[in-house]
């Protein structure tokens, strides 16, 4: 039912869009209608697939690396007092820096290829994942820790068997944010300097007044983002079956 409702909403919006374009007669190079975009999607499919593959690879690599690095740092911070003392201020300050401002530097250092885009995606993913998991690890129900202590558990055992599983829902929220921002990181990286990818294609099409192609690239990117978010969300739900569902998915109406 949810899917049907979403499809109907999308259809209505698309119809409105087409209506505005047809009624006002806006030229195609300013605002193409959805039919023109669909046409571009079909005509330029090979091009879109080629550049889409680049961007998708960057997003996925960035996601995997960013989540792995973020998870590892959160675990390190939670396990070692020294790490917390020395690295926490750094982490907090670095979060205040707009990461996107680093994009030109990354391109300078890592080149026009995929590496700089993956690095960009890793940077935007790293902080939400680290803070989400670290927060989760710090907020363990104190009663569980007491119980584990009377049971003679070592610190490592408590981290592994109690604090980490208890932090997984928080980690899941971080993962959802990561999935949502990963495409942004990759595309910003491509805008700053690249020779392939959907971000590159959008800039290129914009410069040549191929606005229908720009919209087509945007549509592909949108599909990536939604699919990625849905996949991550489904994965989290499957992995944490004990977690009471806070999403009002089964709204009774």
């Amino acid at each position: 039912m949810r899917v049907v409702r979403a499809l109907i909403t999308a259809a209505v919006l698309l119809a409105l869009w087409q209506g505005v374009v047809s009624l006002t007669g806006v030229p195609r190079y300013i605002l193409p209608g959805p039919l023109a975009v669909a046409d571009a999607l079909q005509r330029q499919a090979p091009l879109l697939v080629q550049h889409g593959a680049t961007t998708l690879t960057e997003i996925l690599l960035g996601l995997v690396l960013g989540v792995a690095l973020g998870g590892a740092s959160a675990l390190t911070l939670a396990s070692f007092r020294t790490a917390r003392r020395w690295l926490m201020p750094l982490l907090v300050v670095s979060q205040a820096i707009p990461v996107f401002a680093l994009a030109p530097l990354l391109v300078l250092w890592l080149g026009y290829g995929m590496a700089s885009k993956v690095a960009m995606a890793v940077l935007v993913i790293f902080f939400p994942v680290t803070t989400a998991l670290f927060d989760g690890l710090r907020r363990t129900e104190p009663g569980w820790l007491d119980l584990a202590r009377t049971m003679g558990a070592s610190r490592r055992s408590v981290l592994w068997h109690i604090r980490l599983p208890a932090a997984l829902p928080a980690f899941g929220s971080g993962l959802r944010v990561a999935a949502a921002v990963a495409p942004i990181g990759a595309v910003i990286g491509e805008w700053v300097g690249s020779s392939s990818g959907l971000g590159y294609l959008m800039l290129h099409a914009n410069a040549r007044m191929q606005i229908d192609l720009l919209f087509a690239a945007l549509a592909v990117l949108g599909v990536f983002a939604v699919a990625l978010y849905a996949a991550v969300d489904a994965l989290i739900r499957r992995a944490l079956p004990w977690q009471p569902d806070t999403h009002p998915t089964e709204e009774k109406d």
């Binding site: 009663g143 569980w144 007491d146 119980l147 009377t150 109690i162």
Partner: protein
Amino acid sequence: MNAPELPNAVRPNALAPAPLSVTVTGARLTYGGTELFADLSLTVEAGVTTGLLGPSGVGKTTLLRMVAGLADPEPPTVIEARDGAPLHGRVAYMAQQDLLLPWLTVLDNVLLGARLRHERRSPDLVARARALLEQVGLAGRETDRPATLSGGQRQRVAIARTLMEDKPLVLMDEPFSALDALTRLRLQDVAASALAGRTVLMITHDPLEALRLGHRIHVMTGRPATVGPALEPPGRIPRAVDDPALLALQAELLRRLAG
């Protein structure tokens, strides 16, 4: 309201720890500058349930946590076992909340201690956990997650988990206070039969609970708080709720609590 006599086959008699007697002397606790108690003494006799009854805020939970090794005793507090060996590692602790881990099944929750200590999950161990679950009336729920259980059932799992630890001293901090009245009475019956023969120190603010389960009952009141002489009500445990003697004692305990 008396529980049917449950078979005591659950305890591995060869390995059962000898009941331990514990004494607390010179106990002192200050909180935010005020002295909650000083020079307080308490003896927990071996093999019986000692009920420590007191109003909220009297410091009884902190006293229990000191015995459990969860709070550092304030000097000159001395907590010692009769056999002279340290208490560390010989205590099973049951709190007001069931503290079940939501991601583990009921059976795995009962086996939590073994998991945390990286002990091998031998068939014997699992069989004992299953037997304990049966004893507390939860046979067949082994693979369920805690979220599917009622509050009373969850606390039953907590009892099984406490017994699984099989420690010489069992500490209970208002274990049934979060439950409704009827469930509480049922759980007291379950606990009484399950804990028979063990050294138990149970904290409660409910005179009826202390009277149903305690062989010896101390009242802890005042500021700084003192522990009164032990009251040893007659009759088998769990004592019947409608016993007139028990009701008279309840009135007496309420008087002591108020005084």
